[in-house]
């Protein structure tokens, strides 16, 4: 245990240091594109066109111009309204359904659980075309306006992200001890009242994480908003594509718009990261 053990131990320590260095190098590589996005947004259009950057003189000019070139404020507001409403409603629906799956046994619970997963197997284009035609039909034949309206997009996104939200909420409810609601029910609450007054408050971090996740997904959605909106309810992705179509040379503004569209979701994600990660990993394991 003396002279010979030193050498392998030192070798192991060196390997450890090398692996740590490698980890940090990979971290830098993973973050580099994001850093590049931010750096590019702080350059002038000319620097970006040349590919020669002036890092010593960053300018926030692009962040001012981008709101004027394209009506980015409107896209941003639309995204906020539609995604907040859809994520909120989806989380509410998912809280109910997730509770039923986690705690109650009812005929069809298995079918329901499988259907929730099955919704993820269908390509968006499969229901996009009929939804589009249906929205157009409603517009032509009834006073119901879903095509190119906030309500229409909120309904669609609510439905999209409810299944994943159900899976999240089911997991978070399973983490809460049954005794809580049992005690409330012994005290005379109905189960529903116990759910609202006792279980949900205790699941608050999970509810928040579910809301944030649904919000991230809705914020990211491009396909449906492309097909189902025209010029009223378009969200940020459409604004970005407008930028690319009409201001192809304005790279600094495009990068600035990229930064602005990323900041809200970054903040939301990292603020709720601890719980979100639990939902994400549990969701994968549970499928």
């Amino acid at each position: 245990m003396t002279a010979f053990t030193l050498s392998p131990r030192r070798r192991r320590r060196l390997t450890g240091i090398a692996l740590t260095v490698l980890t940090y190098v990979l971290l830098v590589l993973m973050l580099a594109p994001i850093v590049w996005l931010v750096l590019s947004s702080l350059q002038t259009r000319g620097h970006l066109a040349d590919g020669v950057y002036d890092f010593l003189h960053p300018t926030f000019a692009a962040f001012g111009e981008m709101w004027r070139s394209v009506d980015f404020g409107r896209y941003f507001a639309n995204s906020l309204v539609i995604c907040t409403a859809a994520a909120g409603i989806a989380t509410a629906f998912a809280s109910f359904a997730g509770y039923a799956l986690a705690r109650l046994s009812f005929r069809g619970s298995r079918t329901f659980g499988v259907s929730v997963v099955a919704t993820q197997l269908i390509p968006g284009s499969m229901f996009l075309l009929p939804l589009f035609l249906g929205f157009i039909w409603l517009k032509q034949n009834t006073p119901i306006r879903l095509f190119d309206t906030h309500i229409g997009m909120i309904l669609v996104y609510t439905a999209f992200f409810t299944p994943v939200a159900i899976w999240f909420m089911r997991y978070f409810f399973q983490q809460i001890p049954r005794e809580l609601e049992e005690a409330a029910m012994v005290d005379g609450c109905t189960r529903f009242v116990a759910l609202i007054r006792v279980v949900l408050p205790n699941a608050a971090p999970g509810v928040t994480a579910t809301f944030v996740y649904a919000f991230l997904m809705a914020w990211d959605e491009l396909l449906f908003v492309t097909a189902l909106t025209e010029h009223t309810a378009e969200t940020i992705p459409i604004g970005i594509r407008n930028f690319m179509g009409n201001y192809a040379e304005e790279y600094a503004q495009l990068m600035a718009a990229g930064v602005v569209s990323t900041i809200p979701v970054m903040i939301a994600f990292f603020a709720t990261q601890r719980w979100l990660v639990k939902g994400l990993t549990a969701g994968a394991v549970k499928g």
């Binding site: 980890t23 284009s125 399973q174 970005i240 990068m255 990660v277």
Partner: protein, 333 residues
């Protein structure tokens, strides 16, 4: 499998599995009441209504549409467009004179390549990072958190950013690979000549953090004694990885394969932002093809038929996957 080490999963690496499965008894007692059952139906009702209205009914509508002749000339009739029988399918699958036929086959091939490369790269990268992060080193928590950042960048921003970085003349990737280091002697036009690769890389970049997270959760739940026992028996690091880690992570690999393939096969945002609505025959994917033919060329019948075929392909994939990984599902359930 020529090892004395156990190869069957011992404990499913399910970080969440412990608490809720502890007490199945009270569940049965509590919930068999009729009022509990009625409440359950009320609780799932809103979700069911939305899933029927936005998932189920339109999917049926899509299948119906795939047998219709809905194009520019019949668009005003919407769902009352004339029936077309199997003509949409026939032209896609067998009519070699029809440009839609070659377009579909090309997009199917590209989608298969894109999916295999993205999922393979994402899982390999995620597992590699997870193994690196599953050690004690200074700053580990911060590194783990920061690694998640690419996952939070919206897909359309990922497309904008990488499309910008991949630019041939002024893009930073060529500035580094050609001007900075001289690794490449010419300036590749990534978005034109290597367009499939150009969309695979950002897809992996955005997907790796989630895979890392899931693998890391799995690794941290692996029984430590197993590794110690194997080390005492003389198993090297590679053998321990091959015969302990991989088998125990199989359920996690399985589930990520399942959803990774589906998610990649339906990818739309990153390709369309980077390459536009018509990426050309080298990188046209199923979704870009379907959306373009449906909404730019008003070939809704074609779009619906192609979507139905894509759905069938995915059902086939789920069946294959289920056969391959059934054993792992049992152990994880």
């Amino acid at each position: 499998m020529s090892t004395h080490l156990p190869t069957a999963p011992i404990a499913p690496p399910a970080p969440s599995a412990a608490p809720e499965e502890a007490a199945p008894e009270p569940q049965r007692r509590l919930t068999s009441s009729r009022s509990g059952r009625r409440l359950a139906y009320w609780l799932i009702a809103p979700a069911v209504v939305f899933m029927v209205l936005v998932h189920l009914a339109p999917t049926i509508g899509g299948v119906v549409l795939s047998f219709k002749n809905l194009n520019t000339f019949t668009f005003s009739q919407l769902f009352a467009a004339p029936w077309n029988g199997l003509a949409n399918y026939r032209s896609i699958l067998f009519d070699s004179a029809n440009p839609l036929h070659s377009g579909f086959l090309g997009a199917a091939r590209n989608t298969a390549i894109y999916t295999a490369a993205s999922v393979g790269g994402t899982l390999a990268g995620g597992l590699g990072l997870a193994l690196l992060l599953n050690r004690e080193f200074p700053g580990r928590r911060a590194v783990r958190t920061l690694m998640l950042a690419p996952y939070v960048v919206p897909s359309f921003v990922v497309g904008v950013l990488w499309g910008f970085m991949f630019q041939s003349d002024s893009g930073v990737i060529n500035r580094i690979l050609v001007d900075g280091t001289g690794i490449l002697s010419h300036r590749p036009a990534w978005l034109l000549d290597h367009s499939l690769l150009a969309i695979v890389i950002p897809t992996i970049w955005r997907g790796v953090p989630l895979a890392m997270l899931i693998f890391l959760a799995g690794l941290q739940s692996l029984p430590r004694e197993l590794y110690e026992a194997a080390a005492i028996d003389g198993a090297g690091p590679w053998q321990r990885f091959r015969y302990i880690t991989v088998p125990l992570l199989r359920p996690l690999i399985a589930i990520q394969l399942l959803f990774g393939v589906i998610y990649s096969a339906y990818q739309y945002a990153i390709p369309v932002v980077m390459l536009g609505g018509n990426p050309g025959p080298d990188a046209d994917l199923m979704m870009t093809l379907i959306v373009r033919q449906s909404f730019s060329n008003n070939l809704f019948g074609f779009g619906a038929a192609a979507s139905t075929l894509l759905t069938l392909a995915m059902l086939l994939w789920v069946a294959v996957w289920f056969r391959a990984f059934r054993r792992d599902l049992d152990s994880a359930a």
